[in-house]
């Protein structure tokens, strides 16, 4: 399973923090091949979160990015 996030819209720090926060639920790898996007690969996903992990990851990263821009 893979998630693609635009680098101009999601901050790298936020993606890193999200990767750490979600590490208990899956093996998460960030692939930096593309200069325009963050590619997040999920493996060994906890079955309980299989259907939602990509969406939840994107939400979490967006929340952290928004908080960072607002200085909180």
């Amino acid at each position: 399973m893979e998630l693609v996030l635009d680098r101009k819209l999601y901050s790298g720090d936020a993606v890193d923090a999200t990767q750490e926060a979600f590490s208990p639920f899956a093996r998460i790898t960030r692939i930096d091949e593309d200069a325009a996007t963050w590619r997040i690969r999920f493996a060994e996903i906890d079955p309980e979160f299989k259907d939602v992990i990509a969406d939840e990851f994107a939400n979490y990263a967006l929340g952290l990015t928004a908080e960072g821009r607002h200085g909180s």
Partner: protein, 139 residues
């Protein structure tokens, strides 16, 4: 089911889009994507077990974009006044200099009590009162 809202970046700055998105991420999945023509696409999907009308969500999101844009405008206009008010409030919380601070370096001879003001009345006049009583008894 997912709905999409597209906005022109020049019309709604990124901070506004983030602010609006932040209001929705507790009940929806929100994903941002950059379009080629300077527009940003916002994909909104209700969370599982949610019974929200997706089209209503899109309308709410557009309203929230306006709300955030207005708040940003007001914040920009009132920034200086707000800073002044905060500065004043903080300054008024600073304690004033006490009288003890003002006494440093002043003449402190008054502590010697040259006029005997600090002497209790009984101590000052008791001896005189005893003397009068003795005189009246002798008559």
């Amino acid at each position: 089911m997912t709905t999409k809202v597209e906005v022109q970046k020049g019309l709604y700055p990124l901070e506004v889009i983030y602010g609006a998105s932040y209001q929705f991420i507790d009940r929806c999945y929100v994903r941002l994507e950059q379009a080629d023509d300077g527009r940003i696409a916002i994909y909104i999907k209700p969370k599982p077990d949610s019974v929200v009308d997706v089209e209503a969500l899109a309308g709410e999101f557009q309203n929230e974009l306006l709300n955030q844009a207005f708040r940003r405008k007001v914040a920009q206009r009132t920034g200086k006044v707000r800073d002044m008010v905060v500065q004043r409030a903080l300054y008024s919380a600073v304690p004033e200099r006490s009288d003890a601070d003002d006494m440093e370096g002043d003449d402190l001879d008054f502590l010697d009590d040259p006029l005997g003001i600090a002497v209790p009345w009984e101590e000052k006049f008791d001896g005189e009162a005893k003397g009068e009583d003795e005189g009246s008894e002798g008559k």
